[in-house]
């Protein structure tokens, strides 16, 4: 456990050294600038749009961090040949994978926490300056705790993307790993179409194949509850719990597969 946390902290420190937290500045500037500009353009919908923008930016920045750092987690060590000195230490390969994964998830967690605070600060300001009549027309309160439900699922989605990126990083080059991870991310958002493939195609084998892909590919669309939360629509707790359980199970599966491949690699 100590080895895992040691690797995790070193990944986190490296991401700070790589100036990853700079994206937080971009995020804050984006939100503040948009809160000023949107009031002029949106016919009273600025709070709704700031929520949309804040949640989308959290997901996009997180996606780029997860993919572009995730794909280098293992391959970079191999490229720099630092893998030899690392594996010479009393660290097992599963510990190495778990530590690398935990470090990037920690980076994402810190990022998302700061972005969430910035989003709530901007929303608190918008609520403060909003007139009572304007507020009465909002679908949901400006400073809405329910946003945390969407942010929690964004975090889980990013944790899953990180696992996928790490998986590809164990056996392919960074460029190929990035392409494959983005491919899986896009395909994972088309899952609803795969599930309902029988509505457009009749041959049974095609339907079975689509249904099989629906189950095998990560169901990223399920993590997206941004629209519901922004409009104050109910999202059952059971849905969030079951999606979280699905995400964790899938992450475990991908990390185990990554560990399996990495354990079989020969670094001589």
């Amino acid at each position: 456990m100590r080895a895992v946390s040691w690797i995790a902290i070193s990944v986190f420190r490296e991401s700070v050294r790589d100036r990853v937290p700079y994206n937080l500045v971009v995020f804050a500037v984006l939100l503040m600038a948009s809160s000023y500009l949107l009031g002029q353009l949106t016919a009273g919908q600025d709070v709704k749009i700031i929520k949309d923008l804040g949640l989308a930016a959290t997901a996009v920045f997180g996606l780029f961090i997860a993919v572009f750092i995730g794909i280098g987690l293992v391959s970079k060590e191999v490229e720099r040949r630092s893998i030899y000195s690392l594996l010479a230490k009393p660290i097992s390969r599963p510990q190495f994978i778990a530590g690398k994964y935990a470090g990037l998830v920690l980076t994402l967690a810190v990022n998302i926490a700061v972005m969430t605070c910035a989003l709530y600060l901007v929303l608190a300001y918008m609520t403060w300056i909003g007139s009572p009549t304007l507020k009465s027309a909002w679908d949901a309160p400006g400073v809405d705790v329910a946003l945390l439900k969407a942010i929690f699922l964004i975090f889980l989605e990013l944790a899953l993307i990180t696992a996928v990126a790490l998986f590809f990083s164990t056996f392919s080059t960074p460029l190929l790993a990035a392409a494959l991870t983005f491919g899986i991310y896009v395909a994972g958002h088309f899952n609803a179409d795969l599930r309902n493939f029988d509505r457009v195609v009749t041959p049974a084998p095609a339907v079975w194949l689509a249904r099989g892909l629906y189950h095998v590919l990560p169901d990223f669309a399920a993590f997206d509850i941004k629209t519901q939360v922004v409009h104050g629509l109910p999202v059952p707790a059971g849905y969030i719990v079951s999606t979280a359980a699905y995400g964790m199970a899938y992450i475990a599966a991908v990390l185990l597969a990554a560990t399996f491949i990495f354990s079989r690699r020969d670094f001589k």
């Binding site: 353009l41 989308a56 679908d139």
Partner: protein
């Protein structure tokens, strides 16, 4: 020799660094100068470019934008407002609102719960030309899409009733929509009496009452629309009163109808003006009183013109 960061910075600054910076600034200044010259000489028709819409299928767009459908809906909503606003305020005589419905349709395809897009969109679409495309049918189609997404929202039923009443001159259909709205959760208690008044009287008082309800709206744009419509109703009343005066006190034979003549004969204290301050037009031959085409109240709604 190895240098630290500060050493490298100093080395760059002393070995032609300032020259490079000055060169970069000069190149940027040149680019800006070229840009300004190009814009003044070869101005592209921005309005023409704004009339392009590459993707028209909401389903396709929803797939393209992955999980960012709400943000894409916001973008299309802003574009719809800009399209409507720029066409409405353009100085050119012909106005093209062709993209308004597709933009609103895409917005609501991407975010089916975007209440304001349905409600404002319906107002934009039903506004008569040149203030809008004059398409109450599209306004109703948009609101019916909203009803399909959120059948419990009384506001959409109310808005369909309003379009039926104000633009399509169909008080019976309007009353039916108001009654349907009144049966929904959280519907205000005044919907039923308004529906009843419409069926019984079909009068201007119902219209005035409805616009006064909208005047309480939190949205500035809706308040402005309500203010304008209330002024139109006031102008209708005044036109009727003036028409009566004109008929009662015709000019001496051989002379045409003019407001100056009425003022000279002390029948009117001054040239009568509509609530915006624009004088009413008076046809010299027939003596017909109308709201001037120069007035911001023009065109007037056709409903209740003659009671």
């Amino acid at each position: 020799m190895r240098m630290n960061g500060r050493g490298k910075y100093l080395a760059v600054m002393t070995s032609g660094g300032p020259l490079m910076l000055a060169g970069a600034a000069a190149a940027l200044a040149l680019a800006i100068a070229v840009q300004i010259t190009r814009d003044s000489m070869y101005a592209l028709d921005a309005q023409q470019a704004g009339r392009l819409l590459y993707v028209r299928s909401g389903e396709a767009l929803r797939r393209i934008v992955l999980e960012f459908d709400a943000l894409a809906a916001d973008t299309y909503w802003i574009r719809a407002i800009q399209h409507y606003g720029s066409e409405r305020l353009t100085k050119t005589p012909d106005r093209h609102y062709d993209l308004l419905y597709p933009l609103l349709d895409l917005t609501t395809d991407l975010d089916p719960y975007f209440t304001i897009a349905y409600r404002f969109g319906a107002i934009f679409l039903s506004e008569p030309y040149p203030g809008g495309p004059g398409r109450p049918d599209q306004a109703i189609a948009l609101l019916e899409k909203g009803i399909a997404a959120q059948p419990e929202k009384w506001q959409y039923f109310h808005d369909v009733g309003f379009v039926e009443f104000w633009q399509l001159r169909n008080p019976r259909a309007a009353a039916d929509w108001f009654l349907r709205a009144s049966r929904l959760p959280n519907a205000p208690p005044w919907l039923q009496p308004v529906a009843a008044a419409m069926l019984a009287q079909r009068d201007r008082a119902s219209a005035r009452f409805l616009w006064q309800q909208i005047l309480q709206s939190d949205q500035q744009w809706m308040r402005r629309t309500a203010e304008r419509s209330l002024m139109q109703l006031q102008a209708m009343d005044e036109v009727e009163q003036l028409q009566e005066i004109v008929r009662k006190y015709p000019p001496e034979s051989g002379r045409g109808f003019t407001w100056e003549d009425f003022v000279r004969r002390k029948i009117l204290p001054s040239v009568p003006a509509d609530p915006t301050g624009e004088p009413y037009s008076l046809d010299p031959g027939s003596g017909d009183v109308r709201v001037s085409p120069q007035s911001s109240l023009h065109p007037m709604p056709q409903l209740f013109q003659a009671q």
